[in-house]
Structure formats: C-alpha cells, structure tokens
C-alpha cells in the first residue's frame, strides 16, 4: 500500500530530522586541539571590573585578562615579576618602587605606563568595591616617570608585594576605561559608571581579552594577540556555567569540557574513564567552627575552658573522613597550611576525656544545649550540613546537645554579625598570598570582624592589644624569617584563643582531560589559564 504523497513527505522529513538529532556523532562536538579550552564551573561572578569584582571566578578571569605588577610563582610562595620588571622596598617597609617592563603593552597595543598603575590602584581604593580593602594602607602613588612608580603606605606593610600579586590589583588601560565612564577620583564610588561597560569589554595587559559574557551561562575569552609576554597556547577559553558537580564530571567524560573545577572527591571516584585525570592537591581553603562569647543567645558563658572543651571534643581526623572521604588536611590555626608562619604548628588535639573534665571544671558536668548556625550549602566539596551532623555527634559525647540551624548564606552572614551566633560554621578562601588577611579577619584585634563577635576588650583573655602588637610587628618585619616568626607567634595565639576552630582544609580536585596540560591551583589566581596547553 502506497502512502499518500503528503504523508510520505512529512514522514520523510520527520525521519530525517530525527536521524540528524540522534545519529549525528558526538565526535562532531569533541575538543579540537585548535578549538577553545572549555572549563566547566559553577560561576559566582558579581562583576568583571577589577575594582568591583570579588569572587573565586573573578580571580580566574582577572588574572587571565588584567596583568598585575607582580605575580605568584608556581610554588605558591614566591613573588615574581609581571608588569614590574624589578622593585625596591624601603627599610621601613612603607615605600615601594617599581620599574615597569618596557615591553609591557595593553591589548590595544598601547604601552603600560606608570600613570596607568597610579590610576588603577587609586581607583581600586576609591571605588570602594569588594576588593578595595586591599588598598586600605595606601597613602600615595607617584608616577616618577613613564616607567617608574613609587607607592607609599600609611604603615609598614611587609605584605604589600603579596597584595600586588592579587588579581584584583590588575592594571587597567586608564585612557580606554576613562573614555567609558571610569574614574579614580575620591568620589568614584558613586561617580564611576563603568560597571556595565566592563561586562562587555576588557582593558588589560593579560594573556587574554574578554570576548563575550552571558551571565549565568558563559564567559568567553580570546587570546590577546598583542600579548607582550609568552602568548597562551590555547586560542580561546570558554568558562561554562555548570552548577552541578556530577554534570561537570559527565561533561568531562563526554569531552564537552576540558577541565571541571568543582568535582568533589566522591564524584571523582565514580568516574571510570581512561581519558580523564583527577589530581587532588592541597588547597588554602578551609571550613571552620567559630565560637562567639559576645553573641546574644549563648546558653552558658563561653569561657576559655568551655571553648577548650569544645575544641578537644572534635574528632578532626574523623571529620575529614566523614566529609571529604579523607581528601583533606587538618589545619592547626586560622592561617592556612603553607602560608607564612604555619610551619611546625601543633596539630589539633582530639581528647574527649579531657574535654569532659574541662567542661566539669567550668561547672557543666552534664553539658548544656546550644545552637549551631550554618550556611546551608556545599562549599569546596564539603557539605556543611553533613559536617554539622558530625560536630553534633562529637559534642554530644561530652554532653553538649547541639541543635542545627541551617540557613541561607545571606542570612548566616547577617546573623553572625548581628545579633551574633554563639556557635557557627564558616568557610574562607584567600584573596592573595599573605597571612595578614587572616589576622585581619580572624585575629583578636580591635574592630576586626571576629574580634567584635568574640567580645575583644570585654572577655577575659581577649584584650586585643597583644595580637595587635604582634600583627604590627609582622607587617614591619623586614625579612622573611622575621615575618615567619611573627606570624607563627600570632598563629599560636589564635590557636590558644579557641575562637576559630579550623575543621578541614579540603583538597582541591583538579579534573581535566588527558590532552590538557599545565593545570594547576594558584593561591592568588585560582586557575592560571595562560599556562594551560592542549594537544
């Protein structure tokens, strides 16, 4: 029986369409060596303006597009030249003189001058964006000549070189940005209108330029063909928004992505593909528990004895096994392992018997009930709800009955500030290579965030003066050994305070296809895209 011609035509079309949909080989979408490098990650971009962007993905983007005066070597310890070919630091660590590389140019071919450096760093300070605090100690910048910049700080700052390696301090083509609404004036916080322009354009001297950005979808970079240093091997990079870790792993397996950035150790174990490499490396990120004696709602005074009891009751090794399947490290102090001052710090001790003794000595032999507030999220591969359950279990053994209070991140961040949370979980990742940022946030010094929450100046043993003096000494240290010692002393003091209890520093899983090389984790820049190659 012959089919009517119209039916036959439409059936034929449908069949052709179906076959094109299902039969087209996947190989057609597979990575080509000369194609863009595809990176799958959950993106958290809040701006593409170096002075306003403040997020993990921003670090990747900014370091790829905006060159900084200095940068961090692959050892994650050594500051090396970038736009500045050489530099000098005054003996009192307040004056920094930089000599720019004469070869350095922006992506439009114009030279990077001292005036651009002055404008960019002053703008970073005056825009008052997320990373502006990095310029808190900035006093003045002088462009001595086209190639020489002198920066002075209000107080000695031995970490200033590390700060200048942070991608947020990327140097902007001042002429181009000014023409598009940017300025570095004192009132730049309100008068600078370039935020939207930066979403579609870049004005840097890095190895890549911005090609296109679609929020919550993709960020496309193209090789800066006018790059003044070694040009990147890949012609383009696409950062593809992929929120889910399992989807990231599947994209890697299928060849849709070359690198996946947030595959957790458990997911990595489920992938059996000879084409994919998973490498766990120590990170500088960590998750901590924080005790705030000054917060409202504490069921008992959170004295040093009580805090020590809590710290001793936590099974740190068990926590690492339970939350990241052993793929993590214990971290003794709020300054992460590998940062100045952390060598040979004593490991956290798990001793529930001693914890119970201390609790009894403090007047609570039967323990007490308390709330643990946590942001309901998975961070650095650690499910904070799971971690909270482990903490609940550990403290339950010494009689402290925890009720868990998972809340959205915005609520958590607001709550810990006011009215405060007596016991909370939190997390931290570095903005640059340097220990001062940890002391500024977690140290018991006047007006510092956790110091206020802990009740510095009111709580016995937390006077604030001692750590402030140690911190000033660390910033004034003129040599590496002096800096190491000062931060080591500070770290010991922060450990003894028992306000911040680091629980786990999870390993970072570098997941990439075998044809990709040069993938590494950087303390300043997260994933340096300019170093990656593809066969």
């Amino acid at each position: 029986m012959a089919l009517p011609p119209r039916f036959a035509r439409s059936t034929g079309f449908a069949a052709a369409l179906l076959s094109s949909v299902f039969v087209l080989p996947m190989g057609a979408t597979k990575a080509a060596a000369d194609g863009p490098l595809v990176v799958a990650r959950a993106m958290d971009i809040n701006s593409l303006d170096p002075a306003r962007a403040y997020c993990d993905t921003c670090q990747i983007y900014l370091s790829a597009v905006y060159a900084t005066l200095l940068t961090l070597a692959a050892d994650n310890q050594t500051i090396v030249p970038s736009l500045a070919k050489s530099w000098e630091v005054s003996p009192d660590v307040t004056t920094f003189t930089f000599h720019l590389d004469p070869a350095a140019t922006f992506s439009d071919g114009s030279p990077v001058t001292a005036a651009d450096v002055k404008w960019s760093l002053e703008r970073l300070k005056n825009v008052k964006g997320g990373p502006s605090y990095l310029m808190d100690s900035l006093k003045a910048i002088e462009a001595k000549d086209d190639r020489t910049v002198v920066i002075t700080t209000t107080t000695p700052n031995s970490e200033f070189l590390g700060i200048l390696a942070a991608p947020y301090t990327g140097i902007i083509n001042a002429r181009l940005a000014t023409a598009n609404g940017a300025n570095a004036k004192d009132d730049a916080a309100t008068s600078d209108t370039s935020d939207t322009w930066f979403l579609a354009h870049s004005a840097g001297a890095g190895p890549f330029v911005l090609e296109a950005y679609a929020p919550d979808d993709s960020l496309r970079l193209a090789r800066n063909e006018a790059y003044w240093a070694k040009k990147p091997a890949v012609p383009a990079v696409v950062l593809k928004q992929t929120a889910d870790a399992v989807t990231q792993a599947q994209m890697l397996q299928s060849g849709a992505a070359d690198i996946a950035m947030q595959v957790d150790p458990d997911t990595a174990k489920t992938v059996a593909s000879p084409d994919v490499t998973f490498k766990a490396v120590p990170s500088f990120n960590y998750v901590y528990a924080a005790i705030s004696p000054a917060a409202k709602g504490a069921p008992v005074p959170l004295t040093l004895e009580v805090r020590e009891a809590i710290a001793l009751a936590l099974d740190y090794k068990g926590i690492i096994d339970f939350t990241v399947g052993g793929e993590g490290k214990e971290q003794p102090s709020p300054i992460p392992n590998g940062y100045p001052g952390t060598k040979d710090l004593p490991a956290p001790v798990f001793d529930p018997a001693r914890a119970k003794e201390l609790l009894a000595k403090a007047g609570y032999p039967d323990g007490f009930a308390m709330e643990l507030e946590l942001p309901a999220m998975n961070v650095y591969g650690v499910d904070l709800s799971l971690l909270a359950q482990k903490v609940q279990q550990d403290l339950g053994k010494i009689g402290i009955k925890l009720s868990l209070k998972p809340v959205p991140f915005t609520v958590w961040a607001s709550d810990i500030d006011s009215p405060g949370a007596p016991f909370a979980l939190g997390f931290f990742a570095p903005d640059y290579f340097g220990s001062a940022q940890y002391v500024q946030y977690f140290g018991m010094m006047p007006d510092m965030p956790w110091a206020k929450r802990a009740g510095v100046g009111k709580e016995p043993g937390l006077d604030g003066k001692e750590q402030l003096a140690m911190y000033q000494a660390a910033l004034a240290a003129t040599d590496t050994a002096g800096q190491e010692k000062a931060y080591h002393d500070l770290a010991l003091k922060m450990i003894a305070d028992k306000i911040i209890l680091p629980l786990v520093s999870p390993n970072l899983v570098l997941a990439y296809r075998n044809e990709v090389s040069g993938v590494r984790y950087s303390a300043c820049c997260n994933l340096p895209l300019g170093e990656i190659e593809k066969k």
């Binding site: 008052k128 997320g130 919550d216 929120a243 399992v246 989807t247 915005t410 510092m448």
Partner: protein, 338 residues
C-alpha cells in the same frame, strides 16, 4: 466573552501592582543582607565600603522611599539593575525568558502529546496491561525527581551512548547566532545556520523530554479520567451506533470533549514551568528564568526578585486569560457567558 477578556485586561495592571507591592515588601523584610553579593561577606564589617555600596545601590533610603522610587521607575519601564549580574533586570529577563520559553514550549509539546497519547490508550484499553503500563509511565513522570531523571538521562545519552549532546543550548565551542528572538531554534534558522539548528535541536531534546515527562503524568491522569467520563456518555454510544469508526469515536467525539477540563491544567502548568523549571535548567546548564529566580532569591537581589515575580505573575494572568479564551473556543456554552 469579549467583555470578560476586556475586563480581565483592565484589571491586570492593578493585580500586577499588588504582586509588585507584596513582593517588594516581602523581599525587604526577608532576613539577610543583600550587600553580600555586591561587596562580599568579608566586607560587611567595613563601614566605609558598606556605606558606599548602600548609596550606590539605593539601599540607604527608608522602605517607603525605596518603594516609591521603584514603582516610579517601573512605570517608566525600568525594573532596576541586578545586584548580582550588574545588568538592567530588563536585559537579564530579555536574555533568559526566550531560553525558558523555548524549553517550556518543547516540554509542553512532549508532555501534552505524550500525555494525550497515553490517556487514549489507557482509556480505550481500561484495566488491561496497556492501561497499567500507560499509567505506570505517567506515574513515573510525576513521581521521579527531575534532577535525578536529568542526571540519569545525561549519563545514558551523553556519556554512555553519546547519542545526544551535554548541557547548554548549543555546542559550547560553537559560536551562537546573532540574537534576534532569543529562541535558539529560530535564531539559527534566521542566520541560515542549518547545522546550528540541528545542534540547538539536539541540545533541546533531553531537557524537554525530562521536563515534559513530569508534565505528561498530570496530562495523562487528567485526560484519562475525563475520557472515561466522556466515553460513558450517550452521544458516544450514539456515535458508535451510527457506525463511526473506533479512531473517529476516540479522537473526534471523546477526546475533543475530554480535553476541555485539561485546558485549565495545561494553562497553569505552562505558567508554572516558566519559573518552575529551575532544576532542569540547573542540571542542563540552561540559562533561563528559573535558575535566575533561584539565584536572585539566594543572594537577596531585590530588583531581580521583583522582576521575576512580575514576569511570573504576568505569565499566570495571561495563562488564565488564554485558558478562558481556549475554553470558549472549545465549549460553545462558554462563549456567551458574561
């Protein structure tokens, strides 16, 4: 009927104002700090940075002041600027709405056609193995979590068999066509890019099938019940007695009438999916309204939250209107109703 439509259209702006007011106030009084997405949690203790951010983003005024400014701007077509994406909310919505509509329309096609097909089989062969199988398929669509289905579908079709591509609307390495309508299928055709059209279609298959399956369950159950009800009516017996063929009775006489009650569900399901397809959008990295709404809520992005609510509210109101019109078209008794 015309009167009803005109009356609905006239009331719509007032309903939208009510929705805007309720959303605006709820967002303002929700616990949490929206500055986190602007300056980061670490800077909340930095008074200078906090004050500058509040001034720049209009968060330093009182709630009534902010409400008045918002409504004034809204009346001038300005939905504000998103704290998170730093783009005008209108631009954000214009970029995302077509992506969601494309997905939802495809899912509705899968769900409606599949659901009606299953319902016909199920009703015609009531209590047989075919009926049980059809109901099981429908029930699974309703019960299985879409994020799980999505992951399994990706694993089977993308990783294992490689029959279909992975997440996204187009091959990640491909260059997207110039955005004209925002509908990838349409834009690739307008650009004369046949390969791009097929690629966009291939990317649409899995998310539409997963989302459509969840719709299929509702449609099957609704239409099946309606069909069984209709097929017991006298006019069906009459049609059969007059010698109408089995297929004609099923489709022409029974289905046409059985579909009327399903129209309400379809209309509201469509409106619901516009903001409710978030899990599928997340799994398939589909840059649509659903994931935008969730991210906005997570970061307390007030302008984006209110913008999405306006779109969602408008969607429901229009769906309601369209359902009434469809009802009138399907049921002559409704046309004269005032």
């Amino acid at each position: 009927m015309l009167k009803v439509v005109v009356r609905r259209l006239l009331v719509m702006p007032f309903l939208l104002l009510g929705i805007v007011t309720a959303t605006f106030l709820l967002a303002q009084f929700t616990k949490g700090n929206p500055l986190i997405s602007i300056i980061g949690a670490r800077n909340l203790g930095n008074a200078e940075i906090v004050a500058a951010a509040k001034a720049r983003w209009g968060l330093d005024g009182s709630v009534p002041e902010r409400y008045a400014i918002y409504v004034w701007n809204l009346a001038h077509g300005d939905l504000g600027t998103s704290f998170r994406t730093r783009q005008p909310v209108l631009t954000d919505l214009a970029q995302r709405l077509p992506a969601t509509l494309e997905l939802v329309i495809a899912a509705m096609l899968v769900g409606t056609l599949g659901g009606i097909g299953l319902a016909i089989v199920s009703a015609e062969f009531k209590d047989s193995a075919a009926d049980h199988l059809a109901r099981l398929v429908a029930l699974m669509g309703s019960c299985l979590p879409v994020f799980w289905l999505g992951l399994i579908a990706l694993f089977l079709f993308t990783v294992q068999t490689r029959l279909l591509p992975g997440p996204g609307r187009l091959d990640i390495r491909a260059v997207a066509p110039p955005p004209v309508t925002g509908f990838m299928l349409v834009d690739t055709l307008l650009a004369g890019d046949g390969a791009g059209f097929v690629d966009a279609l291939r990317h649409l298959v899995l998310p539409a099938a997963v989302l459509g399956w969840s719709v299929m369950g509702i449609v099957t159950r609704m239409v099946r019940a309606s069909m069984l009800d209709v097929m017991g009516q006298d006019y069906i017996t009459m049609a059969r007695a007059k010698g109408a063929g089995r297929l004609r009775v099923l489709v022409h006489h029974a289905l046409a009438n059985a579909l009327i009650p399903a129209l309400t569900i379809l209309g509201f399901t469509f409106a619901y999916l516009i903001t409710g397809s978030v899990l599928v959008e997340t799994i398939f990295s589909w840059p649509g309204i659903g994931s935008y709404a969730v991210d906005a809520a997570r970061s307390l992005d007030y302008p984006a939250i209110t913008g999405v609510t306006i779109i969602g509210g408008l969607g429901f109101l229009l769906a309601n209107l369209m359902t009434d019109i469809a009802y009138a078209a399907a049921d002559p008794r409704m046309r004269d109703a005032g």
